[in-house]
Symmetry: C2
Subunit: 605 residues, 2 copies
Amino acid sequence: MPTYKAPLRDMRFLMNEVFDFPAHYTTLSNGADATPDMVDAIVGECARLCEEVLAPINLSGDLEGCHFDNSVVTTPKGFKDAYDQYVAGGWQGLSHPTEYGGQGLPMSLNLIKAEMMGTANWSFTMYPGLSLGCMNTIMQYGDEAQKNVYMPPLVEGRWSGTMCLTEPQCGTDLGQIKTKAEPQADGTYKLTGTKIFISAGEHDLTENIVHIVLARLPDAPKGTRGISLFIVPKFIPDAQGNVGERNSVSCGSIEHKMGIRASATCVMNFDNAIGYLIGLPNKGLEAMFTFMNTARIGTAVQGVAHAELSYQGALAYAKERRSMRALSGKKEPEQIADALIYHADVRRMLLTQKVIAEGGRAMIYYASQYADHMTNGIIENDQKKYEYWDDKLGFFTPILKGFLTELGLESANIGMQVFGGHGYIKEHGMEQIARDARIATLYEGTTGIQALDLLGRKVLLQSKGKAVRDFTADVLKFCGRHARDKQMRRYVWDLTKLCAQWNYLTTRIMLTARKDRDIVSAACNDFLMYSGYVTMAYFWALQAAVAYEKLANGGAEQAEFYQAKIQTAEFYFERLLPRAAGHAGSMLSPSKSLMQLDKDAFAFG
Amino acid sequence: MPTYKAPLRDMRFLMNEVFDFPAHYTTLSNGADATPDMVDAIVGECARLCEEVLAPINLSGDLEGCHFDNSVVTTPKGFKDAYDQYVAGGWQGLSHPTEYGGQGLPMSLNLIKAEMMGTANWSFTMYPGLSLGCMNTIMQYGDEAQKNVYMPPLVEGRWSGTMCLTEPQCGTDLGQIKTKAEPQADGTYKLTGTKIFISAGEHDLTENIVHIVLARLPDAPKGTRGISLFIVPKFIPDAQGNVGERNSVSCGSIEHKMGIRASATCVMNFDNAIGYLIGLPNKGLEAMFTFMNTARIGTAVQGVAHAELSYQGALAYAKERRSMRALSGKKEPEQIADALIYHADVRRMLLTQKVIAEGGRAMIYYASQYADHMTNGIIENDQKKYEYWDDKLGFFTPILKGFLTELGLESANIGMQVFGGHGYIKEHGMEQIARDARIATLYEGTTGIQALDLLGRKVLLQSKGKAVRDFTADVLKFCGRHARDKQMRRYVWDLTKLCAQWNYLTTRIMLTARKDRDIVSAACNDFLMYSGYVTMAYFWALQAAVAYEKLANGGAEQAEFYQAKIQTAEFYFERLLPRAAGHAGSMLSPSKSLMQLDKDAFAFG
C-alpha cells in the first residue's frame, strides 16, 4: 500500500528555485502575508495533515464506500473526524478573503495544498473541493446579502457547497437542461428537476450544503442562452446565517462507481425547492464559464496527484521486490535475484511516472501564478486585469486538464504494472489509484471537450493561433538564452524545432478548416496531446537549466537532487517526447478517414 | 450495458475470405471433419451459447463476485447452470482427441470459440480455460495411465484443471519457487507449499479439480533447473477415474481483485498433498515453456475480446446519446442535438476501438493456423514439425499477447470515454470491461516479459533477427503483388518502408547490444509496440486488399461491408500507425537515460 510522503523537496525546488514564488508574491495585492517563512510553515503543516490524517483513510474509504439510506448519506469511517481537523486547521479559507474569515493568501497556495490533499486522499478532498466552485460563484456574482450569509460558513468549512449542472439527458450539452425555476411573490424561486453526478450533494460532514443550480426561468430562451443560476441551500438560513428549515431538495440515490468510492456522487431531486437567483437572469452559463479555468486546473491537479501516489507506491515496491538478474550482470549478487529497479524496462516505467508527476507539477505551479494574477483582478475589481490573466490561463487550462489527467491515468496504470499481478489486488492499493484516476478524464469536461476547447476555441476562434505564437515566443526566448550553453543545447534545439512545428501545425489546421470544418474535431485530440508533450518538454528543460546552474555555481547543498533533475529531463526528451511525432503525424490527415464511414456500417451482424 | 452480439460477419470474412480456413483445414491431419458446414454450425451454435447464456451473467457475476467460506468457493449465481450447459454441449473437448471423448477438431476452432466466450463473459471463460493448460500438460507429458485417468473427465469438462506456478515470493522468476515434493515409498510424492494467484483453484463447478504444480524434489538443483511437475488432484481418483478420497490441498483464501471478480483467484495450500510426477524430474520448466505459446495466445484473445465488447457498448451509446452539433453543421436537425457518432472526435474513438478489435482478430486468426500445424505435430508425434511451427508461432506470441492486451485495455478505456461520466458508473457495464481488461497485461507474463521475450529471446538470441527478416519478407511479397494496384499503393509503400525500418532497428539494437547490454531491456517495450503496430498494419492492408478484390469482382453480396473494411483500414494507416514513429524514435536511445539515475535518487523527501 503506497504510504504518501509529500514531495517537499520537489515542491520547494519549483517554488523557490524554478518559479521564484517569493518574488512573484511581492507582485500580488494579496501576497504580502505569503512570506517564505509563512509559505514554508503552511506547506509543512499541510503535508503533516495529508500524511497523518488523510492518507491513512484512503484505502479504507475505498473499501467501505459511502452509505445511502433513505436520503441520508454517510461517509466512510474516519472521514468526519478528518474533516473536522481540516476545518479546525482553517484550511478551507486559505485563499479566501479575510473579511469572510479566510486567510486571504494567494490562490496558488490553494492549488499547492490541493495537490497534497488530493494525492493523500482524492475522495476526501472532493468534499471541500466542491465548495470552491460554490464559493467562487457567490463571491463573484452574489449580492452583499448573499455573500454575508453564505461566505463565512463556507469559508470556515462549517458548510459545504456543490455545483448542480448535469441532468440525466445532458452533461456537456448544458443547453438541454430542463430544471425549472418558478418565480414566487416574495422574490424567491421554486426549483423542480433532477440533477445527477452531484459530488458531495449529500453527506454527513457539514451542517449545511449550499447547491448552486443551473435552471430555466419560465420565459427563458431555449438552449444555453436561457440558463440562470440559483442558490438552493439544504437548510434555509436566516439573515444571520443560522440554519433553519429543511428545503425540499434531497438525495435520491448515490452512484456505484468504478472509483472515488468514498466520494458521494448523488442524484439530487429538487421538488419545489426554494432557491435564490444569483447573478443576472439567463446569464448563468456565462457565469459558469468565468471560473471554469480554475475548476479545470483543480481537476488537472488530479493527474499529478495520482501520478505521484502511484509512483511512490511503485518505487518502494521496485526497490524491495526481487526478480531475475539485470541484463548487464548481477547487481545484488548476495541476494536471490536483483531488485526490480535494476531492470531497464522497470526503470522506464518508474521514470515515466516520475516525469509525469514532476513535469505535471511544474506545469501546475506555473499556471498557478497566472491564477494568482487573475484572482487579484477579481479582488481588485479590475475587470481588464481579470480578463487578461483569465485569457492567458485559458490557453493552458485545457492542456493541463486534458493532457495531465490522461498521463495521470497512464502513470496509475504503470504503477500497477510495476507490481505485476500484485498490482491487481485491492490490498496493495495500486489498483485503487487507477480506478480513482480514471474519473479525471471524464468529469469537468472530457478529454475530447478539453481538446475541442483548446484547438477550436482558445487557439483558432479566440486567438487565430496567437495563443500558440505567444507561448512559443516565450519558449524561444528561453532557448535563445541557453543556445550557447553546451549542456542545454540538446534541449534547446529540440524545443526550437517543436515550437516551429507547433506553429506550422496550427496554421495548417487553420487553413484546412476553411474547407474541412470537421478537421477541428478530427485533429483536436492529437493537437491537445502534442501541445501537452511540447509544453511539458519546456518545463523539463527549464528545470534542467536551473539544476545545471545550481551545480555550476557550486555550493549546491544537495548535488544529487540537481543531478537527478537533469537525468530525469534527459529521460523525458529521449523517451517520452518522441510521442509528439506520432501525434504530429496523424493530426493533419483530412477528416475524411474519420467521417466517411456510414454510421450504419460501423458493425455488421 | 453492452449486449454481446457475436461479430459473425467479420469472423466469416476472416475465415473464408482472408485466410481461407477451408483450404487450410484440408492440410491438417485432424482437419477432415472441419468442413465449412460443420464450422459454420459450430460457430453459430457457440455464438448462441455466448449471447444467450454467458453474456447475461457477466455484469451480475462482477457485482456478486465469488464467495469464500471456510475453504469452500462458490461462484456467482448462474455460473453453475451455465457451466453445465457448456459441458452438455460438448464444448470443452472441441479440439481434443476423440479417443478421450473430444471432438478432435483443429485448435484454431478452440481459439475462435474462446474469443466469443471471453467477450461474452471473461470471468466465466477462465474456469474451462484454465483446464486447457492442464490437459495439454497431461497430453504431452503424461504416461498412458495418467492420460487414461485424467483426460476423459477433463475433456468432458466434468473435472477442471489449474496451473500452480506462482508463489508469494515469485511470479516471473520461477527459479525462486520453494514448494517441496517428498518422494514416498509407493512412488507418489507429498507436496508442501503455498501457491498464489491460482485461477479456478477452487470452485463449485466441477466434481474434481486437477492441479498441475511446479515443485522441487529434495535433491533438485537450485534455480530453474530444479523444478519438476506434479499432478495433484483435489480428490484422488482410482484407476478407473472414479473420484475418491479428499487430498490435502485446500484453498486458503480468494483475492479481492480490481476485476474478473467472478473468477476465483485462489491461495492454494499444499500440506503433504499427494502428487504424481509428470514428465522428467527437474525438467518441469522446459515442459511449461512448450505450451506457453498457446497459453499466451489464449490471453492475447482477451485483448480482442474486451476491445470488441467495449466497442459494441460504445457504438450503441454513440448512436443513441445526443449532445451538441457536428462542426460541419446539424446532422439531425429534427432532434435536440446530434448523436455522438456524428462528432469526429467520437468517431476517432470508435474507429480506434474497431481497428483494434478487427485488426487484433485478424492477427489471432492468422496465428491460429500456425497453432493448428503445431498441434498437428504433437498429434502426429512429429517433433520436428512441432518445433518448426512452435518456432514460427513463437515470434508472434509475445507480439499478440503484449501488444493486443495493451490495446485491448486502451479500447476498454476508450469505451468508457465515449460514455462520458456514465462510463464510470457500474450499471452501464463499461467500467467493468476496463477492470476486467486490466489483468491481461499482467498475467501470463507481463507486457515487460513479453517485450523481453520478443526482442531478447525470439529476435536476438534465437534467430539473430531472422524472425523479423522472415516475416517482413512475407509482407514484402504481399507488397510486391499489390505495388501496381492504384488503390493499394498507399498501404504498400507505407508497409515497405516500415519493413525496412523494422529490420534496420533490429540490426541497430543487435549491434548496440554488444557494448550496451541493458539496451535490450531498455528498448524492448518500444520494440514490442512498434512490432505490433507494423504487424497490425499488414493485416489491415491484407483485409483491404481482399475487400477491394471483392468489390472489383462485382457480385459482392454486401458491398457496404467491404467498403467499411477499406475505410477502416484507411483510418488505421492514417491515425493509429503514426504511433509507430514515436516508438521508433525512442527505441534506439542508449540505455544511459534509463540506467544512470542512482536508485536512491529517484525521490527526495
